[in-house]
């Protein structure tokens, strides 16, 4: 076992991990942060996306030991300080950007990463950026719409589908 220490959602945490412990497992099992989902466990689906040192990564395909000393942000740290939904989360609610909700944490984290590097993405850019996030309810239309709305773009002309 190796001791790892990292900053998760602004809080310093540490724990003893095996070499093979995935970052996703450390977050879920050691830290109780079960908002990060493990869908495919093969780095395809993106339900496990978190931010490590500010960039989106698939936490099922990164070892906890590799995150030693890193800053990690998960879906649990996304809400505003007063507990209300942040602008992306609120847009997902307003535009019905989720159906079963399983993929939603990864979608929100990928959306946050996208908007950080591209504050006003086009629909095409959003769809390309979400290549590694799979929604098995196939609810992509409203997810894309929610991200456009979250970036302050007018989505009234986009029909509900």
């Amino acid at each position: 076992m190796t001791k790892v220490t990292m900053t998760v959602n602004g809080k310093t945490v540490s724990g003893d991990v095996e070499g093979r412990t995935l970052l996703a497992s450390f977050l879920r099992d050691d830290q109780g942060l079960t908002g990060t989902h493990i869908g495919c466990d093969t780095s395809q689906c993106g339900a496990c996306v978190v931010h490590v040192d500010g960039v989106a990564v698939k936490s099922c395909t990164m070892l906890a030991a590799e995150a030693d000393g890193a800053t990690v942000d998960t879906i649990e740290g996304q809400a505003n300080a007063d507990g209300s939904l942040n602008v992306i989360q609120q847009a997902f609610q307003d535009h019905h950007g989720l159906q079963c909700g399983f993929c939603t944490p990864g979608m929100v984290m990928s959306a946050a990463a996208l908007l950080k590097e591209n504050p006003k993405p086009s629909e095409q850019e959003i769809r390309e950026y979400l290549e590694g996030n799979i929604c098995r309810c196939t609810g992509y239309h409203n997810i894309v719409k929610a991200i456009m709305a979250a970036s302050g773009q007018d989505v009234t002309a986009i029909a509900a589908e």
Partner: protein, 260 residues
């Protein structure tokens, strides 16, 4: 996954020392290796993470040569733009989260027969630098998942001569998004090089007939009359050997037309 120890060296020297452990395996970004470990297709005793080795990070340009540290991520190469065709290639590997972890050294060390970077390295006549030597791309790729790397040898950097014009065309396999066939064309003062990934059972290879034709006339029309043999092409449910052979010519033509 079987369990293993994780070493996190910060210098190449320390990484090489850690690789001396029995059944040690280098870990780049892990975007192929970690899924492989989950499948129990590999069982190293020690993983030596190269991500923290500062001297293997980043990109430096020296005239017409671009040196990319072995632990540099696809996202960093995509954002660089000094060698536009190479950055474009990097920007279409995997997905954004994969590009934030996966590294050029990891991709070249693994030498997946459908990976993108081997085509760029071979078509550019790149030089693969390791902790012990420099290897020309022509000598480096030795078949599917096979390279000139010795046991414990680490790719520390890759140097690309920047061409006058280049382009990479990838025909994606629709499920994996790896290259069903990918062709990288690079035009230099002393001639054109064409490298093909995804197609052959031997891994990445140069299409020398096309190189000769394109060196004389850098136009897709120069490929008319050439054909690619289907012998030893990969055949699977995504495409027959003949289909891949046909695609090699089509994608080469598109790359030449798009080269800038």
């Amino acid at each position: 996954m079987y369990n293993f120890d994780v070493e996190t060296p910060v210098t190449v020297a320390d990484a090489v020392a850690a690789m001396a452990a029995e059944d040690a395996q280098a870990l780049g970004g892990g975007q192929t290796l970690i899924p492989t470990l989950k499948q129990r297709l590999a069982s190293p005793s020690t993983l030596v993470s190269l991500k923290g080795v500062a001297e293997m990070q980043g990109i430096t340009r020296d005239g017409d040569s671009l040196r990319i540290g072995g632990a540099t991520t696809h996202a960093t190469v995509a954002a660089d733009g000094s060698y536009p065709a190479l950055s474009a290639l990097a920007s279409h590997i995997g997905d954004p989260a994969v590009r934030n972890r996966g590294t050029i050294g990891g991709s070249l060390a693994n030498n997946d027969p459908a990976a993108c970077y081997p085509a760029a390295a071979l078509a550019s006549g790149a030089t693969i630098a390791t902790n012990t030597r420099e290897i020309a791309a022509d000598d480096y790729f030795q078949g599917m998942f096979d390279t000139a790397l010795e046991e414990g040898e680490i790719i520390t950097a890759v140097s690309f001569p920047i061409p006058q014009a280049a382009n990479y065309q990838k025909f994606v396999q629709p499920a994996s998004r790896f290259a069903l066939v990918g062709v990288f064309v690079a035009k230099y003062a002393d001639g054109v090089r064409v490298a093909v990934t995804g197609a052959s059972n031997e891994g990445v290879f140069r299409w020398t007939e096309a190189e000769a034709a394109l060196s004389a006339n850098f136009s897709a029309s120069a490929l008319e009359g050439l054909s690619v043999s289907a012998d030893n092409m990969i055949a699977d449910l995504h495409g027959s050997a003949g289909y891949r052979a046909h695609l090699v010519k089509v994608m080469t033509g598109r790359a030449v037309t798009a080269a800038s």
